[in-house]
Symmetry: none
Subunit: 190 residues, 4 copies
């Protein structure tokens, strides 16, 4: 009996991400994905129960990959400000190296599919980030604000700016990155 080919799984994921960024949810189809992945449409159903299942697993997979890279080199011994900057740099690096994955995540997160899919809450992936912010606040380095508020002030600007960059409406060069990091820090620092 043949073995399941891990490459096929990945090929399907990559094809989906690419197509989703090229033509979007409205025009994607299982057969287009299959064609791009160089498999038969029915092969997708060997690996996934259906379209929803595939998209859900793809989302979780990519989210996982991103969180791992964003949190690289972060533990509770790293000084808060260093960790803060490292997280931002990690995020930028991940996004620049994985443009398609990032844009897929953004598209998916802003579509109702994500709720209708009833995926398990993936916030545990970012747990170290919550801890980092809590630690910073305890050390009086950060403002006495809701944790989520602080986190969003860190992450939202960079996401938005990278999208502008990809759209060509803005150039996220090193100077702008430095400025942005400074601004985020000014926003959250006590």
């Amino acid at each position: 009996m043949r073995h399941k080919d891990e490459n096929k799984n990945e090929a399907i994921f990559q094809a989906t991400i690419q197509l989703l960024n090229e033509i979007g949810f409205s025009d994607i189809s299982m057969s287009k994905i299959a064609k791009r992945a160089n498999v038969s449409p029915s092969t997708i159903y060997v690996y996934f129960k259906n379209k929803e299942d595939m998209l859900g697993k793809l989302y979780t997979n990519v989210k996982q990959k991103m969180s791992t890279q964003i949190l690289a080199g972060i533990d509770d011994t790293i000084p808060v400000k260093i960790a803060f900057e490292r997280v931002l740099r990690n995020q930028i690096e991940f996004i620049f190296n994985h443009k398609d994955e990032f844009l897929f995540l953004e598209q998916f997160s802003n579509s109702p599919l994500i709720q209708n899919l009833c995926l398990e809450d993936p916030s545990w992936m970012f747990h170290p980030l919550f801890e980092l912010v809590d630690r910073g606040r305890e050390q009086k380095l950060l403002k006495e604000c809701d944790t989520m508020l602080l986190l969003v002030l860190i992450h939202a600007p960079v996401s938005a700016l990278v999208k502008q960059h990809f759209n060509g409406e803005f150039e996220l060069n090193e100077k702008n990155i430095k400025d942005m990091i400074q601004m985020s820090w000014d926003a959250i620092k006590a």
Copy 2:
């Protein structure tokens, strides 16, 4: 050209927005929109050339509506900081009063449709905002950063937080709004 029944046009727009937020681009269809709008599918083609055309016009229409309300009460005589806060409050108010429109805009903006549609650049709508930021920088009130950078630090956090609020992951009450405005200001102020 103007059509007889402006209500039908609006009904189609509203039905589209609702359905898009309920089921997303992947599952929407002209028939479903027609059913929700209480018109015949063919009626949509009286008002619009085709699906793309309809979505494009809807996007422009909503974007216009939002920009108008966000910029309400802003002109170049208003002190920068007052204007800054007013813009943020306007934005929050618009979003809370037009949840569907806002979520539609977010979904649309993050889908590749927006590029494939070749809509004319709508940034002129926010021109007064650019002026406001430029004025603030000239008056040494704001940092010496790229205009876009400053703008994003104003808008991205509030958008992200409102979405968290709608998702139930965070409560955007008055205290948090105040904190957020303070943080945005700290981010951009000189």
Copy 3:
């Protein structure tokens, strides 16, 4: 606006009956039916919700047609034995003139579809037959048996014999018809 074409409905029904008798439930398909009926596959969905709905409505339609013709000329003034013979003759005539409809009914009745479809009980169609049998029993012309028992002894043999006839395993000529009617009568008569 166009009008619904009653011919199309009937064409779909006839195509389905024919194909079902030619290739059976296992090989029939909506597109084959459409082709045979000279309509587009999607047109079928203008007239019926789905395949199940169509088959169910077809079954009811044919069953209705058959019961009407079988009961032609039967009322409670007709002497029981005359009515009995007339019913049998009617049934034979209907089946010979509507071979396809009859075979369709037999095929459908013996498939689990008929239960899974949850059609409303069509026994009311044969209500006059129940009355006839009851009358015959009251007049001591028929045996003191369960009504259903008497009815089955009337109908089952003729159905079985006609199928044999169509299969070529038996010739249902006038002599055999007469013999059969005599046997059925001997079976039920007091």
Copy 4:
């Protein structure tokens, strides 16, 4: 040729019969059969050439089983009336003990598959029955009718009544069985 594991063959047969009675020819599939039989789809192809082949062999197998049991205890020394009653009782007993097999046979016999499959004529299985009827007629116990006519009057009613019983439209209790046997006898007796 004989296969190693006779159990698998039987498991496939049983799974097919069950599924055919649950969902019918239109919805059955080799995968579903395999799943129900707890084998792999490909295993079916070890035992049978293809789907048609499997169904044909199943039909013959079940038909054989039924005819054997119906004819149990019948030979040309048994008095005709005794044999007649024994056959009917055998038939009822078989059907009650093998509801699924019986219903499968009915479904199969009424579908065009049985002709399209070009199975060899299985009437030899019931040869003793033909002989019984011929003997009865020679002894002037039965009517001077076509053999098939007499046979059908014996078998058709019981089949029809059992189906009614399974459908819950009629209760085939001992009294009704006796009545039915009497009626069948009255039908065929000289």
